[in-house]
């Protein structure tokens, strides 16, 4: 895997964990009491964190899928070239 792709994947994973943090922060930092109505900050953090997790997960899944497709195509081309040479 190219170093750029590796770095990009790490960044995407960091984004995913940032989403988890945002989702849990209102309750961990305790500016949202459990059982009470959600304040604006809590709603914002939950929506933003959820969206961040969703985007990051989708990016990871699609990146992995297309990387596998490229790897399979390269392997097929290599096998075909070797068969033609032999």
């Amino acid at each position: 895997m190219a170093p750029q792709a590796r770095g990009g994947l790490i960044v995407t994973v960091v984004g995913f964990f940032a989403g988890i943090w945002l989702f849990l922060a209102p309750f961990l930092v305790e500016y949202q009491k459990v059982g009470q109505d959600w304040i604006d900050a809590t709603k914002n953090d939950l929506w933003t964190g959820g969206a961040l997790m969703a985007f990051s997960a989708l990016t990871l899944i699609l990146f992995a899928a297309f990387a596998l497709r490229d790897a399979a195509r390269d392997a097929e081309q290599k096998n075909t070239a070797e068969a033609e040479e032999s």
Partner: protein, 151 residues
Amino acid sequence: MVKYVIGATGALLGVLAGAWLMLAPFALAYQNSGADWADPTFVDFWTGLPLLVVSVVGMILYVSGLVEELRRRGIMRRPYAEPAGQPQAPSEPSDNASGSENNMEQVLLPLVTAMLKDMQERDRGRSETHQETPNNVQQARSAGEEGSVRS
């Protein structure tokens, strides 16, 4: 190639999310401007800023990967790359000198050709005018002969 586009799009969304998190406390007015920052503002701002920076780095990485892939496939050319099939062999200074002379000749050749053509046309025009007035020619000849006699 598609994987890099997907990654860059995801990183761009991360950038936008980070920017929103930094602005949200003021945009949604759960942080009054001028007042001390509340806990939600601290959380949102200090989550948004690193997310923004990290996502920008990620986007640069994905885009550089995409550019590298495009260059590898020959879709994009490397800047200042030599054209394929014309390897530039190391040459002697004399070769460079002769090459510059050839270039000079190639530059000057159309100019010299045009000048020669122009001169030929002028000569042709002169000869035609002389043929049209033969008396003048005869007079000139006789004048020349007289001149030669006098001298």
